[in-house]
């Protein structure tokens, strides 16, 4: 089987041709990184997932989260499904663990910003004003 891929490891964006037989043969790569990328993309493509989840009593209604490492592509939609059912409560710090060890991958889902409560937002503004 033959497949074509664009290498995204560096801005060169080499067009890679991959032959999948007993071995995986990569052509068109200008460096070793391209070969590794192609093999990984063919055998086990992974992506970092970033999305938002609901948060109660926060400054905003949602808070952004990410997986702490790239996860296999086929887990993306199941994980989105899972996250759509979760709601946490403000305040939370940045890096707060929303889900632990998802799909037994030793990967967590964490918040990517702190989220203060609505009341607290108002208070910090008032103290700012008086200084």
């Amino acid at each position: 089987m033959k497949k074509e891929l664009t290498c995204i490891v560096c801005p060169l964006g080499c067009s890679l041709e991959i032959e999948i037989g007993e071995d995986i043969i990569v052509k068109g790569n200008k460096c070793e990184k391209g070969k590794n990328y192609a093999i990984e993309e063919i055998t086990n493509p992974k992506r970092i997932l970033t999305t938002t989840i609901k948060i109660k009593n926060g400054k905003y209604k949602v808070v952004p989260v990410k997986t702490t490492a790239p996860i296999p592509k086929e887990y993306i939609f199941p994980l989105l499904e899972k996250l759509s059912e979760i709601e946490i409560s403000a305040p939370v710090p940045i890096g707060y663990k929303v889900l632990e060890n998802i799909f037994q991958l030793s990967i967590d889902v964490i918040t990517t910003r702190p989220m203060e409560t609505k009341e607290n937002t108002r208070k910090t503004k008032e103290t700012k004003k008086s200084t």
């Binding site: 891929l5 995204i8 992506r47 910003r113």
Partner: protein, 414 residues
């Protein structure tokens, strides 16, 4: 109400944040004026990864990148931040007028750093005929709605323009359960980075229609669909071949325009190629004591460069106040061949430090050679296996190559 500080920074995005730190380190009093309710600029809505690979050598999301700087400025008692404060005017005497809940402020300062970012091209700029129904958003507005406000702008979405924000939003909306019909691009090549084409479109089989455009928008109250048509080699739509596409939302991702109205008010000249001010290697505009960095200087594709420009502008503002910048001569840099723009556009002599130049090309090109010349005398050459309009070219040049040039000129040839 009155206020006086050494340096005022207009805009608290990544450019303004790094500028404030680099000038505060050098002991000046700094005031950041930000019209939003929080610092971080557009990074707060860019929740995807891909930030910081150059500057932090690790991959962060937009909010994480911003947070590092927001935490850092808390360490400096000499940086003051005013949120929900909009700058409405500046004068040639460097008096700033700003408005916030407390009223109207007149702020006197020794140096001003502009880090106001950019705004998006809207339908008005694009001139698409048809009705004016609801459901037309710029990609950045949609990004804010989904990632900060937490709601979906529509269910059946078509994206016009293949810039990075549009590509990122294609994936984001797909993840949120919307149907993303496709991305339409007028040019024969995509506007965004290869990485985004692969990970945002190809991963989800979202089609990209190159050399196509939207010729008409239909719908009474809400968008009901659009006509798209191929364009000829001159960019004119071939309306005989137009095709109807049903959708309830049209996202416009057709480029960014540096936000420089305030500079224009005091006649600081803007470069029509970058739409930012002309600057020298100090990132000083042609008006002494007024500096520019980040996306209001030129549209950057990586935030890391925005940060580096902020650091330089902050440092230069302090040098200016300390009378450490003495300019004997200034030469204008010309560009030629496949180059579309260069920053800085001026060299101020003497040159004491390495200078980072930023370029964009007009068209994609393989095995390109960038040459620096002075009056047709070849000074230095750089070779690139490929150059693309979507990817900024960044080079650092040592002072010895730039000594007292009469007519410096960069050109990009095959």
């Amino acid at each position: 109400m009155q206020k006086e500080v050494d340096i005022v920074i207009i805009g608290g995005g990544p450019a303004g944040l790094s500028a404030s730190i680099s000038s505060a380190e050098r002991g000046k009093s700094i005031l950041i004026l930000e019209r939003n309710e929080e610092l971080g600029g557009v990074l707060n809505q860019c929740i995807h990864p891909g930030f910081g690979l150059i500057y932090f050598k690790e991959e962060l999301t937009g909010p994480e990148y911003a947070y590092r700087f927001i935490k850092e400025i808390e360490k400096y008692p000499n940086i003051e931040v005013w949120l929900e404060t909009m700058v409405v005017d500046i004068t040639n005497e460097k008096e700033i007028t700003a408005i916030n809940k407390d009223g109207i402020w007149k702020i006197k300062t020794k140096a001003i750093i502009f880090s106001t970012g950019c705004r998006e091209r809207t339908r008005g700029n694009l001139q698409i005929p048809g009705t004016r129904p609801a459901g037309i958003y710029t990609a950045g507005t949609a990004q804010r709605l989904v990632n900060i406000e937490g709601y979906l702008p529509g269910e059946k979405i078509l994206i016009l323009g293949s810039g990075d924000i549009g590509l990122i939003m294609a994936r984001r909306l797909k993840w949120e359960g919307a149907e993303v019909i496709g991305v339409i691009e007028k040019l024969p090549y995509p506007g965004g980075l290869t990485r985004n084409l692969v990970q945002c479109l190809e991963d989800y089989n979202i089609p990209l229609y190159l050399k196509h455009t939207v010729v008409e928008i239909l719908g009474k109250d809400r968008v009901e669909g659009v006509y798209i048509a191929p364009v000829d080699d001159y960019g004119n739509p071939i309306t005989d071949n137009k095709k109807f596409i049903e959708c309830d939302t049209l996202l416009l991702s057709a480029g960014l325009i540096p936000e420089n109205d305030l500079l224009e008010n005091i006649n600081i000249p803007l470069d029509p190629r970058t739409q930012g001010p002309y600057v020298d290697q100090y990132l000083s505009t042609l008006k002494e004591g007024i500096f520019s960095c980040g996306n209001s200087l030129l549209v950057n594709d990586l935030v890391d460069y925005v940060t580096l420009q902020g650091i330089l502008a902050g440092k230069s503002a302090v040098r200016y106040i300390n009378n450490e910048i003495n300019i004997e001569k200034r030469s204008h840099i010309e560009i030629d061949g496949n180059l579309r723009l260069v920053v800085p556009q001026y060299l101020s002599y003497p040159i004491l430090e390495d200078i980072t130049f930023y370029f964009r090309v007009k068209e994609p090109q393989k095995s390109a050679i960038l040459t620096l010349k002075d009056n047709d005398k070849r000074i230095k050459e750089w070779r690139f296996p490929v150059v693309k309009p979507a990817e900024m070219i960044v080079i650092k040049v040592k002072p010895e190559f730039l000594r007292y040039m009469e007519n410096p000129k960069f050109s990009m040839e095959g």
